[in-house]
């Protein structure tokens, strides 16, 4: 046999080729299996379906344990487009009470939504009624690719306090980006305490680890559920809101624009917080939420705007008690210091009008009669007192710091979203407007009576009132009294002391008591409850004066401090005082005395919204 030894060497080439390829494959396998860990994650993603189990959202009660907000199951029809086979569309539509057109439109909308994929569950129809759910459930086996996802909707026992409660909505991409807890399709709180207490209310989602085959069919639980995590229910909230008082105050504010805030002075708990016009919180539940939300946004009276803590109003004469405190604290006046009032404050060609009362008069009668001139003179005496402060600017800064300590000009820190800080000018602000050193008390005299640049929210005014009721301290106002299984945060327990001595508060409180017994607030002089109060009539560039009132009762041991603010309603005495007195009476007595029913009736029936200048569409 012939054997060519030159050719025999070619076995090395062939074997070499094999070994070379095998080496490449070995390197590749090493890279795939050992170097790169992402494939493990891919395989787990394929095989394991982490099904979210939604916890029930925390319930909301009022301060007396009355249930306000609870949960109701709702059912979404989901479909995985890839798994859907030919089905009887007509029967499907009939089952769900849909027309063929509605169904097609819905299908088109679904395909246009940003997260659309034929492989993942898509929401076809949201919030089925219980009847539709029942009918569909029976027939579901005929529609492969469709399933029903249980969700939770909010339900309300009382159509009240919408501004306080807020509502829930589906999370946006923004929410998902900002909080890793959220996934597409989750719900989060929107507005009110649903938003500010969302982390307590939402609980903790659970997860079920399911095994899924290549066709998306569920094969069972992975390791019999040992890796599953049970959901944790959201915490229940007990509000400080008194449901009855809230409803009563809302009814008084019907057909008026404005706000009512009632605080329990000793605790800082908000008893009622009304923003008017308000809306029905049940509108923002379920399938029609989008449409109704748009309607509310487009409503010219802006019902979504919580006037109690977002609207910055000129405080008007409700500002005067604070003024008095500063003047006493700074030693500009003492309890006997009297200033003249000649139907107003006249100084250097400047005139601030006032009304008829005795002159000259000291602080308490000035509060009683709401004398503009007294507070103008006092303010002027302080700001222009160069011997003590050097310049008006420095005097003004001292004045401002006292106000800040009372809660003006900054957010109080209420446990609600979107609180406004109001507005308190400082010296550099006037330096910019008038030039440095080119302004004095006369230039800015209107701030002394709560007009001009000064703005405060009804909540801030109510808080000042609560501080006076406590004779010198306040607790940051809040609407949540208790969170289930949680200790109350210290910021809603700690007392804040403004930079005013307690003794001066007694003086001012007495002045406010005199306003009720024989001054501007006589309408609130209840026979068996000692009320102290202060009216406010705030001029504003938008038409009729705003009517304001702040007051507390009982005088010796206050249980409630109220601020009422009604836009374009005229004098403080005409709307602010009656509404405030009715709220106080309702809270302290539980009912309105028969001889005051006429007042209640007048308030319920009156309409000041017509003066708002807003044209209804």
């Amino acid at each position: 046999m012939r054997k060519d030894y030159r050719l025999e060497k070619r076995k090395y080439v062939i074997a070499g080729f094999l070994l070379f390829i095998a080496l490449i494959y070995l390197v590749r396998l090493f890279d795939l299996q050992i170097n790169d860990s992402k494939y493990k994650a891919y395989a787990d993603n394929n095989a394991f379906l982490n099904k979210t189990v939604y916890p029930s959202r925390g319930l909301i009660y009022d301060r007396n344990g009355e249930l306000i907000v609870f949960n109701q199951p709702a059912y979404d029809v989901m479909m995985i487009p890839r798994d859907v086979q030919q089905f009887d569309t007509l029967d499907f539509c009939n089952t769900l009470n849909l027309t063929r057109e509605q169904f097609d439109t819905r299908l088109q909308d679904m395909k246009k939504s940003p997260g659309y994929s034929t492989y993942t569950p898509q929401v076809l129809i949201t919030h089925l009624s219980a009847q539709d759910y029942g009918r569909l459930q029976e027939k579901l086996y005929r529609y492969p690719g469709f399933f029903i996802q249980k969700r939770i909707l909010r339900q309300y026992n009382h159509k009240t306090a919408a501004n306080v409660l807020g509502n829930i909505r589906e999370v946006s991409q923004n929410d998902i980006d900002n909080d890793p807890y959220y996934q597409r399709g989750d719900y989060c709180g929107d507005l009110g305490i649903e938003k500010s207490y969302d982390t307590y209310l939402r609980g903790q989602k659970g997860v079920e680890v399911l095994i899924r085959d290549a066709h998306g069919r569920i094969q069972g639980r992975y390791q019999d559920g040992t890796l599953d995590v049970a959901p944790v229910s959201g915490r229940n909230l007990k509000l400080s809101i008194d449901l009855g008082l809230q409803q009563y105050a809302e009814s008084l504010m019907v057909n008026k624009i404005g706000a009512v805030v009632a605080i329990q002075p000793k605790t800082g708990e908000i008893l009622a917080m009304v923003s008017s016009p308000t809306y029905d919180p049940t509108l923002l539940v379920g399938r029609q939420r989008g449409k109704e939300y748009r309607n509310l946004v487009n409503n010219p009276y802006k019902p979504l705007f919580d006037r109690a803590l977002m609207a910055a109003y000129p405080p008007g004469s409700t500002f005067k008690p604070g003024q008095g405190l500063i003047l006493l604290q700074e030693g500009i006046i003492n309890t006997g210091t009297a200033y003249p009032c000649s139907h107003g404050f006249i100084s250097g060609g400047l005139r601030v009008g006032c009304h008829g009362h005795g002159s000259p008069l000291p602080l308490k009668p000035a509060l009683q009669t709401s004398c503009n001139a007294f507070f103008c003179w006092g303010f002027k005496a302080m700001v222009d007192k160069r011997s003590k402060y050097g310049t008006p600017a420095e005097a003004f800064e001292v004045w401002k710091h006292h106000l800040v300590s009372m809660g003006y000009g900054y957010k109080l820190g209420v446990d609600m979203p979107s609180e406004s800080r109001g507005f308190l000018p400082n010296a550099p602000f006037y330096d910019r407007v008038y030039g440095e050193g080119r302004w004095s008390a006369n230039t800015i005299i209107s701030v002394s009576i709560g007009q001009g640049e000064i703005c405060a929210t009804p909540l801030q005014i109510a808080n000042v009132c609560a501080t006076i009721a406590n004779r010198g301290w306040f607790i940051t106002p809040h609407v949540v009294k208790e969170i289930q299984d949680t200790v109350m945060a210290p910021e809603y327990i700690d007392k804040h002391y403004p930079t005013i001595d307690e003794r001066w508060y007694h003086e001012v409180a007495e002045g406010m008591r005199m306003a009720v017994t024989g001054g501007t607030c006589r309408l609130t002089n209840l026979p068996d409850i000692a009320v102290a109060g202060k009216t406010g009539t705030a001029q504003n560039p938008h038409g009729r004066d705003h009517s304001a009132f702040m007051g507390f009762a009982p005088y010796e041991d206050p249980e409630i401090a109220v601020c009422v603010y009604v836009e374009n309603a005229g004098f403080g005495a005409t709307f602010g005082v009656p509404i405030g007195s009715l709220v106080i009476e309702k809270y302290l007595k539980g009912e309105i005395a028969p001889e005051r029913k006429y007042l209640e009736q007048r308030m319920l029936e009156s309409n000041t919204i017509i003066y708002s200048g807003v044209k209804k569409h």
């Binding site: 046999m1 012939r2 060519d4 050719l7 025999e8 070619r10 076995k11 080439v13 062939i14 074997a15 080729f17 094999l18 070994l19 390829i21 095998a22 490449i24 494959y25 070995l26 590749r28 396998l29 090493f30 795939l32 299996q33 050992i34 790169d36 992402k38 494939y39 493990k40 891919y42 395989a43 787990d44 394929n46 095989a47 394991f48 095994i211 899924r212 085959d213 290549a214 066709h215 094969q219 069972g220």
Partner: protein, 488 residues
């Protein structure tokens, strides 16, 4: 046949290469286990359920052991004697199959006989190997002696290729191209294999790198030009008597390249195609002059190679877009990593990579692979069986499996080289070639390095025909090898 076997007084196992038999047994057992794992369902049936893939495969394995034993009983000389009749018979069977086979997923390659169906293409492998061995063992046959010898060899190889292509089984047909290794071993010029490798390289480079541009031409094309120039210099150095020609050509290439590069830096861009074709043409003319001077005609091979390579490069684009079908283009693009079509053409490969990659070093454990259990990898008990091993046995399993195959093939080559007859040697190389092609293409495709070509992994992939086909190949080889001493 009977008269022969009765004369056989010795045990049929005498002289058998037990090393090969052990590797064979290991591969078959590992294959059975893998099929059991691949077709195991979470609410599964027993391994002894003969309706299941694993049960059926056990039956095939049992039958293949009997078949192997039967083949050992046949006198080795019978194979040589009846090589051509066997080849002719099987070719006729392939031809008939085209017409009588039912359409199964577009292919007409299965003959259905009651509950059984067999694929004649798997048996054409050993028939072709026998015929080729017979051809080469002819008296004083030398491949390079006459051109007609090449013609005869290629006829034997391409007849089954054409018949199998007609059955629409492209993958199985491609396997026969592996027989070029046999031709190479038997004297075919190494340039053929080299140019095949170069052609694949040029194809891959010019199809894959089309994004970035160098000198106004795609970087792939640019690389091919450089490759052509390097090959030219290498061939000149190899074939001319002195290295002067090669050195001068190299200097010319590098010098002109530097000039073009400097001009490019100065903002004067020479169009790449003009430059490269110009400089390569100049080199060719220089080579012709040198050929005339030194009378070394082999230098002309360098010119030929350069011209063919450049022409091939220009035709690749045409072939790729106009000749190949869209799904073939897509498979190639997916394999080259140009396209990431995870949902369609690349789905199998992607899921298969996930399965293998998720196995890690030691694997998820027997029957614990989620990718395979939950049917994420299509064809996982047939062509993609390797990913079951990868997922459940990890890198240990895959590398051991590869080691077994490499050992088997190297052993077959050793057996081939120890054959006293050309018939035995050529047949053994045929066996080695088939295994090399199946090994390279199947595993390459499962780990995403080759385009998806549907051919099984020997002894692992589910299917009786494939298992029997390889068993026949191996046991005929063992029989011939066992008989080698009687020739001395």
């Amino acid at each position: 046949m009977e008269s022969r076997s009765t004369k056989l007084t010795e045990s049929p196992f005498k002289g058998i290469d037990w090393f090969t038999v052990i590797i064979y047994a290991l591969l078959v057992i590992a294959g059975a286990v893998s099929i059991y794992a691949a077709s195991y369902d979470f609410d599964n049936a027993s391994i002894f359920d003969f309706d299941e893939f694993s049960g059926k495969q056990l039956r095939w394995i049992g039958l293949s052991f009997i078949l192997g034993f039967a083949l050992l009983l046949v006198d080795a000389r019978m194979y040589e004697t009846y090589a051509y009749p066997i080849y002719t018979g099987i070719m006729l069977l392939l031809l008939v199959t085209i017409f009588i086979a039912p359409n199964i997923k577009g292919s007409h390659s299965w003959i259905v006989m009651g509950p059984m169906s067999i694929q004649p293409a798997e048996f054409a492998k050993f028939a072709t190997a026998l015929a080729l061995a017979k051809l080469f063992s002819g008296y004083n046959f030398s491949l390079n002696a006459r051109t007609s010898n090449y013609f005869k060899a290629l006829l034997i190889i391409f007849l089954p290729v054409i018949l199998i292509l007609a059955q629409n089984e492209t993958g199985s047909a491609l396997v026969y191209l592996g027989l070029f290794f046999v031709l190479y071993r038997e004297g075919m010029s190494g340039l053929v294999l080299l140019s095949a490798v170069l052609a694949v390289a040029i194809f891959v480079i010019s199809v894959k790198f089309t994004e970035t541009m160098v000198l106004g031409i795609p970087s792939g094309q640019f690389t091919v030009y450089i490759l052509v120039m390097a090959t030219m210099v290498a061939m000149l150095a190899l074939y001319s008597k002195t290295t002067i020609t090669a050195r001068n050509t190299a200097l010319g290439f590098v010098g002109s390249g530097i000039i073009v590069w400097i001009l490019d830096l100065c903002g004067i861009e020479i169009p790449g195609n003009y430059y490269f074709i110009g400089i390569i043409s100049a080199a060719c003319i220089y080579c012709i002059i040198e050929t005339l001077r030194y009378r070394v005609s082999k230098i002309l091979a360098a010119i030929g190679a350069a011209v063919i390579a450049v022409a091939f490069m220009f035709s690749v684009n045409y072939v790729f877009t106009s000749v190949l079908k869209p799904h073939q283009q897509m498979r190639i693009k997916v394999a080259l990593g140009i396209e990431d079509d995870i949902l369609r053409a690349g789905y199998n490969v992607n899921q298969s990579k996930i399965a293998i990659g998720s196995g890690g070093f030691a694997g998820k454990g027997f029957l614990k692979g989620t990718q395979t259990k939950l049917k994420y990898v299509p064809e996982q008990h047939t062509d993609f069986i390797f990913c079951t091993i990868g997922e459940e046995q990890g890198f240990i399993g895959t590398s051991l499996t590869m080691l077994l195959f490499v050992m088997l093939i190297l052993r077959v080559i050793v057996i081939a080289e120890r054959q006293p007859t050309t018939f035995g040697r050529v047949f053994a190389y045929c066996v080695a070639s088939y295994f090399i092609v199946h090994f390279c293409i199947n595993i390459g495709m499962v780990i995403g390095l080759c385009p998806v070509i549907g051919i099984p992994l020997p002894f692992f992939s589910y299917g009786g025909s494939s298992l029997w086909g390889f068993t026949v190949l191996l046991f005929i080889l063992l029989r011939i090898d066992a008989a080698r001493r009687s020739h001395h």
